[in-house]
Every structure is written in structure tokens, then in C-alpha cells.
Symmetry: C2
Subunit: 361 residues, 2 copies
């Protein structure tokens, strides 16, 4: 690092000053801790998530800006998945001595862009020297206690829904890890992606690859959707899909004491796949179920509320949703079935320590 | 790691269940995020800090339990330094694949022991695979907004005080890094140290080394002291000494727009030094000023409030405090002077990226 810790901290503080203009921030970065006003009648919601070099990304293809965006989005996704509104975040960086200050600035620029878009202030953090780069983000939110949507309320007979399309992030990760998409393309994607995931016209030739990369680096956080669902109080359980439908639906079933029957063919798959990104072993269904990192919502709802759900979505122009199955008694387990009625071995989801079927993080 | 991620998470959740019995914890570990009741009229205080392998500790001498204690204490210290009461914490672990589950359990045992002692609940966290071990802790607290003590209020003429004794943690670090104290002794220290830093009688022969190690691993967090000082509203500024008096007093001066004159001889030094831990270049004054990690409090106070300060301390049996100097105009800078009136070059404090004078983290 060609800058002192104090110099780096000053640089970051200047960058953060404008972002802490929210009236809720009583004291922003620069003291022992940040001080935040808390809205009366609300509970505090808090979660943490980390991006680690050589595990979640490699520096030969990741850019600081896109890492900053992804680190924030992966963390804030957990806040929305509770039906809560994000308020603040703190970033703890582990930085190798070789890290350029400009790279650190890029991390903060990317993070701030997304935090501003989704209504959160970056109020503090920490930097440590480290042999590997890591970005650990804690996000806080606020919620009226009776609007919280946990993983534990799914009931037998409930319908299971997911938002958007799945598998894109895992396919992007597979291409990055296997070298079919390189750092030069990621850099072009960074330039082409603006807040809101619009792809600029100058990059229309590469639009397919950029769209694919956006699923990995700038996942579509369902902010408005989750807040409206929470307000409507029609979801019996909700989770964000960080480890794949297999693992995350498994969490809901475990916490709710229920089983599930999923119709594999009804899982909405990312389908704008550029030719160069598709290999023989790229089974999108497999990636959607075992891949993860899409950060779409998975939720359950009593069938009597489905009309209300679709009305809510239509009126507010929310994203597409798909019914992928239904909740069954716990004794029936979690079953994945195709349209011919053939059952597949239960999908386990990604395990960070045991490795996984697809990909090799 | 000889356990799946899911197995490890289950193990940790069982361990955390009993600790989340606080009525303030609406929803503890196991969902997308934790949900916490927030006391009306209070602001949220939040801070984060990390311990990183090969930077803050080495695995050939650190134990899981002592790392868990230190990670929590270093983070919670920032909450108390604002005059706030800690409420919850989240732990984000980076774990090498080789990590034994028992080591992870030890981290949580140590952390929980200290968190319970100081009134905080561990409400959530994250585990990631990582090439190096890191423990990143975020602690939240609550405070009445007008009781907050920042770094920014020191006034010319204020007296500068520190709690306890300084230099012990840095001397312990020096001995650990230079190999004079090894892992076997750390393991004995772990067994001998109970909550509250009492040394058991069976280890009286090694009491000196254990006491020294306790300064590094289980620093004396001034919980009662900081809360009483906040309540009394007599401190014009406060900081916890994490990087040494040099750096941390420098922070107060920078934020307050003032200078300082420190009488070096009045800095209270850790003096129970075991013979084997003292080397020719172990200058305790140097370690107290540039070493850090003591987590004692440094605060400023108007001289007219000093009688009240001493009365408060005596009545409540708080720790010893020492007046080490006074606040001067900004134009006079920060000056360190000995009893003969000789001035020393301004002490810079520890810079994690630029290296430092004493020690070699």
C-alpha cells in the first residue's frame, strides 16, 4: 500500500461525508462508533456478510467498484428478506499491503452508489492489513415488529414463489472461474453498468455477457417487492436466495417444520445466455437450485392470498414471480419432481466447506 | 474442516441459543437477519473491528477462546468509549478449510463469556471459507443522544486523563511475536484466566506472565467507568486507547482542533513485568505511547469538574485514573515532555500499513 493507514482513512472519510447527510445519522464515520437515530415503534434488524478473495472472487477478474456493489447488495438483501428497510451499513476491509488506494476508492464508490440507491448510509467501518482481501459488511435496518417475515412460518398447503429468474449469477461465476470470461470483459461490464443495471448503447455488442455479469456482480435486489409484501402481510415465510433454491428452501422447511414439493420445470431460469458462456455441463436448472447468489426472493403464501398477491404486483409494477411448488407435511421431505412425475434426489444447496456439485469455489 | 458448513452453523446456533434470552432480542440467530427491540429515546451506536491471522495474532500461539474474548472486547470497547451500553453483536468468521470445529467452538465460548459479562447478546453472524482466519465483530449499543461522548469536544485548558495502566498489551505482543512467550504458556494462561481476569492459585508461579498475557488477550474494558462518566456528563471528549496514546490523543486533537502537552513521566505504566518478558529494548513508555491495544480510556475534562470526577470515582470504586497532561491551542501541536522539560518528537502512534517503531506487527 502506497499510502499510510491514516491517509487512507482520511480519503475514505471524505468520500463518506456526503453520503451521511441522512437526518437519521447523528454521528457518521470518524469517531469510536457511529450514532444513529432510531424511529420510534420500530425494531432494529441487523445482518452481516463477507466477500473473501479466492473464495468469492479473484483479483485477476474482479474490479473494486463491482466488488463494492456486490458486497453491499449481498448484505442488504438479508435486510429486505426480513421485510425491513435498510438504514445504515458498516464496512470492514482486510487489505493486502500491495492494495492500491485507487482500488479501495473504487470499492467505496461502488458500495456508495448502491447504498444511496437503496436508502442506506455508510456510517463507519474498519481497515486491517490482511494477506488476502476481504470485504465484510454489516447492514442495519428498521421494521415494525409485526411486519417481520421470518423463515419459520410456512404452512402445509402454502404456495412457494420466487421472484425474477434464477441461475444467472452461478453461470457467471462458473464462466469467471473457468476463464471463459476474463478481467478485461469485467472491466467493460463495469463501465457499461450504471446504477439500475441499464446497459449503455455503446456496449450493445457485448450486451449478453454484460447482462450475465450483472447477475453476479449487481444482483437484482427486490427492495420494493419485499417492502410491499411485508406491508401487505401475506407472506408466511421469506428468504433471499443466496445459496440456491435447494439450500434456501431447505432452510424454510427446517425452520417451519414442513416439507416441500417443487416442480422443477416451473423454476424460472435466466435465459439470455450468450453463446460463449454456455458449456455442455451448464445445466441452468442445476445452477438455479444449487448455485446461489441470485439474491431473488423465495416466499410462501396461503393460496387464498394469491389473488391479492397478483393484484399487488400488477398495481405496483413489481417484478415477475413464479409459483414453483407447494409446502407439504414435514414427513414428506423436500422433493424435486419434473413434469413427468420423476423425482430427483433432494438438492443439497451449496456448502462452502464441503465443495459442491457445480462450480468449484 | 471436518464438518459441513450446515453442521457448523447448527453447532454454533445451539451454542448461541441460551445467550439470546435477553428480552430485547426479538429474533436471534438463524434467520436472514436478527431483530432487536430498541429502547425508546435512545440512539443506536454501532462499530466494527477485526482480528486477522498473521497481522493481529498467529495460530502457533493464539487459542480460540482467547481470540474470541479479544475480538469481542476490542469491538465493544468502542461502544463504551462513546458512553453507550452494548446491546448486541454479530460475528463474521473467515475460516481456513483446515480449521477444527472445536477451535470454532472455543472462539464462541470465549466471545460469549465476555459478551454475557458485559451485557451483550451474540445475535448473528456469518461464516466464510478463507485462506486465513479472521474474526470480524460488529457491536451495537444504545445511548441517550445527549450522553454521547465524542472525540471532538476537547477545549484548551482541559485536563487529559487515562484509566488504568498502559503498555502491557504491547509488551505482551512483543514477547509473543519475538517468541519469548510461546503457545504452551498461552494455553496455561487461558486455563488460569477466568471471567473477570482473576488468576487461579494453581498458576501463581506463572502469575506474572499470565497477568501480562491477560493485558493482550483480555484487556480491561472500562465498562462501569465509561457509563458513569457519560451519565455525569463531565467529559469533553473520550476515546479508547487502541493504537496507543500517541495516535489516539492525536485523534482527539485533530477532531477537536486543539493541541496537547503530555508529561511523559505521568503516563501510568504496566509495572508487573515478569523478568523473562523484559528485554533491553522494551521501553514501556514507548510501548504505552506507540503500542496500543490496552483499551483503556483517554478522556478530557474541564479542570473545574476534576473534584466531581474524583468524587465519582471514589464513591463508585472505579479504576485508578491518571492526569497525563492538558489541552493546548492547536498552534502548539501535540508535545511530549519529560520532567526536565525536554521535548520529544511527536509520537505518531501505530500505522498498520507503514509499520511502527516498536514491535513489528
Amino acid at each position: 500500500m502506497r499510502i499510510s493507514e491514516r491517509g487512507l482513512v482520511s480519503l475514505i472519510r471524505r468520500k463518506l461525508e456526503s453520503n451521511c447527510s441522512s437526518r437519521e445519522v447523528i454521528l457518521g464515520p470518524g469517531d469510536d462508533a457511529a450514532v444513529i437515530a432510531h424511529p420510534v415503534g420500530n425494531a432494529l434488524v441487523i445482518s452481516t456478510d463477507a466477500l473473501v478473495e479466492n473464495v468469492h472472487f479473484r483479483l485477476d477478474w474482479a474490479t473494486g467498484c463491482l466488488l463494492g456493489k456486490k458486497a453491499f447488495l449481498a448484505s442488504v438483501s438479508d435486510i429486505f428478506a426480513m421485510g425491513a428497510r435498510p438504514q445504515t451499513c458498516l464496512v470492514s476491509l482486510g487489505l493486502p499491503v500491495r492494495t492500491e488506494p485507487a482500488f479501495v476508492e473504487d470499492i467505496f464508490d461502488g458500495m456508495l452508489e448502491e447504498a444511496n440507491r437503496l436508502g442506506a448510509s455508510v456510517v463507519g467501518g474498519n481497515i486491517s492489513r490482511s494477506d488476502i482481501l476481504f470485504i465484510d459488511m454489516t447492514v442495519t435496518g428498521v421494521v415494525q415488529p409485526d411486519s417481520v417475515i421470518t423463515r419459520a412460518g410456512a404452512k402445509v398447503g402454502d404456495s412457494i414463489y420466487v421472484t425474477g429468474e434464477l441461475g444467472g449469477a452461478a453461470l457467471a461465476a462458473k464462466n469467471l472461474l473457468e476463464g471463459r470470461i476474463d478481467g478485461a470483459m469485467v472491466t467493460r461490464a463495469e463501465a457499461a453498468l450504471k446504477v439500475g443495471n441499464e446497459i449503455s448503447e455503446t456496449e450493445s455488442d457485448n450486451a449478453g455477457v454484460i447482462e450475465l455479469l450483472s447477475r453476479f456482480f449487481v444482483p437484482k435486489i427486490r427492495a420494493d417487492e419485499s417492502l410491499l409484501l411485508a406491508e401487505a402481510r401475506i407472506c408466511t415465510s421469506m428468504i433471499d436466495i443466496s445459496d440456491g433454491v435447494g439450500s434456501d428452501l431447505g432452510q424454510i422447511c427446517e425452520e417451519s417444520g414442513v416439507g416441500a414439493l417443487v416442480e422443477i420445470g416451473s423454476i424460472p431460469l435466466f435465459d439470455k445466455i450468450p453463446t460463449m458462456a454456455m458449456t455442455e455441463d451448464s445445466d441452468l436448472t442445476e445452477l438455479a437450485i444449487n448455485g446461489g447468489e441470485d439474491y431473488e426472493l423465495l416466499f410462501t403464501i396461503n393460496p387464498t392470498d394469491e389473488a391479492r398477491l397478483h393484484e399487488l404486483l400488477g398495481t405496483n409494477a413489481l417484478c415477475a414471480i413464479s409459483r414453483i411448488g407447494r409446502i407439504t407435511p414435514e414427513s414428506e421431505g423436500v422433493v424435486y419432481m419434473n413434469s413427468k412425475g420423476e423425482r430427483f434426489e433432494r438438492f443439497a444447496g451449496f456448502d462452502h466447506f464441503a465443495g459442491r456439485a457445480a462450480g468449484n469455489r
